[in-house]
């Protein structure tokens, strides 16, 4: 039973990690590329870490909490780094597929 749960978690995690990197390689502009790794890869690594926590909790006596630390750190830092990357890209005026909004002018829009 635990074996099946572990296998499912590991497979899900590996597939999501792969999909995240596939998005990074295949999508067409930087702002869409930002989605792949920051969402899918975080979820994938999260699944793998849960699998590891279950595995070591079952195998050894007591609950294994090392993984929770890594998960927490990764889940806190992933949005921060994504935000900083988007900000840097906007600062450098990286090309986007979507039309950029017009800069603010003094005349109000009708």
């Amino acid at each position: 039973m635990i074996d099946i749960l572990l296998s499912l978690l590991i497979l899900t995690g590996a597939i999501f990690t792969f999909i995240g990197s596939l998005g990074l390689a295949r999508l067409r502009d930087f702002y869409t590329r930002l989605h792949g790794p920051t969402k899918a890869t975080t979820l994938g690594v999260g699944c793998l870490l849960i699998a590891s926590a279950v595995y070591f909790s079952v195998r050894e006596e007591g609950v294994s909490l090392h993984e929770v630390l890594v998960t927490l750190f990764l889940f806190i830092t992933a949005p921060v780094s994504a935000h900083l990357l988007a900000k840097a890209a906007l600062h450098l005026r990286v090309k986007s597929l979507a039309p950029t909004p017009a800069p603010d002018t003094d005349t109000p829009a009708d």
């Binding site: 900000k87 890209a89 450098l92």
Partner: protein, 89 residues
């Protein structure tokens, strides 16, 4: 069951490594390359966790934690450099 799933997971994570490495080499702009490096360190954590389950050893988590912290600091420093032209002002 676990012994058949782990090699498949290794293969998928290794393919993810290759795809991010391709983006690192190809990436048209600097933010693309930083994003590729960011993905590479997250993939490294995934690979280390898999290795820990495969070998049944809990030593690799400390390495994973260190890589998570250093990778985040590296990403922030590179972004800061692109934004301000300087890291510590």
């Amino acid at each position: 069951m676990l012994s058949t799933v782990i090699p498949i997971a290794y293969a998928l994570v290794s393919l993810a490594f290759l795809l991010s490495f391709w983006r690192l080499l190809r990436g048209p702009d600097a933010p693309d390359r930083i994003l590729a490096l960011d993905t590479l360190y997250v993939n490294t954590i995934a690979l280390l966790v898999l290795l820990g389950i495969h070998l049944g050893s809990a030593i690799y988590f400390e390495a994973a934690l260190l890589i998570a912290m250093m990778g985040f600091v590296g990403t922030v420093a590179l972004c800061k450099y692109l934004l301000r032209g300087d890291i510590i002002e």
